[in-house]
């Protein structure tokens, strides 16, 4: 199995307090890895390392090494903007720009220098289709994205992330603000995408982790406790802490 991302002895500090301790793990190319664990255990902190979003937090310092296709991404030489094109991110709350549906998806293409409107239109359509929202919006591509439902907005944000053809997609609780039907659509979208992308998803929903992911990593108090095949973790975890967490016996 080809490895897409590796984390080696990654520790993260916010000022003097350490949020992540010495985390090492590999992420295979293609497929979904779920990051689970109680609130504050460092899932989002870890996720943000992979596209250097932590750079944007002033007091935050990342130690250790992270590689994308074997290339260190924490190195000075790595340009954060081009890294973020390769490693896209979708957040908990859908955050479309107050622009048309079309322009939301086209935005990243234009920023990256694409000028040919016909080409842009074609790429936007493909991205909307991959995010499984095209059929719902094809007749109103030029209306405001803010008129969409929460679930549609989230899939639009996925389309926006996909438009620039990332290799990795980071999703931080992408469905936690959605109803079950919208959640199911997001999960189906993830399922469609995982053959062509490496996906890391943070979720508080155990069933969701069990449904969508191939690998699951359990974090507790900033430490990686257990990482393995999702079906193994959810039927026969090795660590008692993992078992206690996923069966709801925590604390």
């Amino acid at each position: 199995m080809e490895t897409k991302l590796t984390a080696r002895a990654v520790s993260v500090f916010y000022g003097s307090s350490q949020a992540l301790f010495d985390v090492s793990m590999d992420f295979p190319a293609y497929g979904v890895t779920a990051l689970i664990g109680p609130s504050g255990c460092g899932k989002s902190t870890f996720l943000r390392c992979f596209n250097r979003m932590n750079d944007l937090i002033p007091a935050c310092r990342v130690a250790g090494d992270i590689t994308l296709d074997g290339q260190s991404i924490l190195a000075e030489a790595m340009d954060a903007v081009s890294l973020r094109r390769r490693v896209g991110m979708v957040f908990q709350k859908p955050n479309p720009f107050p622009k048309s549906i079309f322009d939301n998806v086209a935005y990243g293409l234009r920023v990256n220098g694409m000028r040919d409107e016909e080409e842009i239109a074609a790429v936007v359509e493909v991205a909307l289709k991959r995010a499984a929202i095209f059929e719902e919006v094809k007749d109103r591509l030029h209306s405001s994205a803010l008129g969409l439902s929460g679930g549609q907005q989230q899939r639009l944000c996925i389309a926006r992330a996909l438009a620039v053809a990332p290799e990795v997609l980071l999703m931080d609780e992408p469905a936690s603000a959605l109803d079950p039907i919208a959640t199911q659509k997001i999960e189906e979208t993830i399922h469609e995408l995982k053959d062509s992308l490496t996906i890391l998803i943070v979720t508080h929903n155990m069933q969701q982790a069990a449904r969508v992911s191939d690998q699951t990593a359990f974090f507790y108090m900033g430490k990686l406790i257990e990482h393995g095949a999702t079906d193994k973790i959810f039927t026969r975890p090795d660590q008692k802490q993992t078992e206690d967490y996923i069966t709801g016996r925590f604390g």
Binding site: M206, F234, T235
Partner: protein, 221 residues
């Protein structure tokens, strides 16, 4: 979130309690059947046959509970294995109840036969089979992985005991120590006792799977 989790634990505890109750009901049936065999107590034998309905009702109830639990709380890990084991255990328990009941019928049919010498040996085998069942229940009750594993591996002992005893019965018939009609009832009782033993070993396998996570089924010893 917290209430949801508590509900799951409550469901699990309640499922376990009903399962233990079913174990006890089956235990009574097996015990009474052996007593009926030993003392030729037809009343006891009839009670075992009557009691089988209650065991069947418990099977339905536990099945239903386990299904609802799965649908409503979607258990994982140890909880999931417990529920799956419970569903498997009720099948074996119900069958053990059936075996006890058909053995009780055999006891009734044997009531007018003379006390053949071979009966003592059959009784020993019935006790062994009953012990296997009690060990299975004890392993379940006390979550004892080692005891479950040990019992799961006695299936061959059951078969060997049966073959030896059937051979003894054959000799007894040939020596005219037992008449042919009684022989048939006795053979059926012996075979049912073997099945109780084997199903007890199955229960031990389910207990092992529930506690340990590995299946013992179809794997080399």
């Amino acid at each position: 979130m917290v209430t949801q989790e508590t509900i799951l634990q409550q469901h699990i505890v309640s499922l376990r309690t009903r399962l233990l109750l079913m174990c006890a009901a089956v235990s009574v049936a097996v015990e009474d059947m052996i007593h009926a065999f030993e003392t030729r107590d037809v009343g006891r034998a009839a009670a075992v046959i009557d009691g089988d309905n209650d065991i069947d009702a418990l099977e339905n109830e536990i099945d239903d509970k386990a299904l609802k639990l799965m649908a409503c709380t979607q258990p994982v890990a140890g909880d999931l294995r417990f529920v799956v084991s419970a569903l498997r255990m009720v099948l074996d328990l119900e069958r053990i109840g059936d075996e006890a009941s058909s053995m009780a019928e055999g006891c009734i049919l044997l009531q007018d036969m003379p006390p053949y010498v071979i009966m003592d040996e059959v009784l020993v085998f019935l006790h062994q089979s009953r012990n296997a069942y009690e060990q299975a229940v004890a392993a379940f009750r006390s979550n004892d992985i080692a005891a479950a594993l040990a019992l799961a591996r006695t299936e061959d002992d059951a078969t060997q005991g049966e073959v030896r005893l059937l051979h003894r019965c054959m000799q007894a018939v040939l020596a005219h120590e037992v008449d042919e009609q009684a022989f048939m009832h006795i053979v059926l009782i012996i075979r049912a006792a073997t099945r109780i033993w084997r199903r007890s070993a199955n229960i031990a396998e389910h207990v092992y799977f529930s506690l340990h996570g590995d299946s013992l089924k179809h794997c080399p010893k």
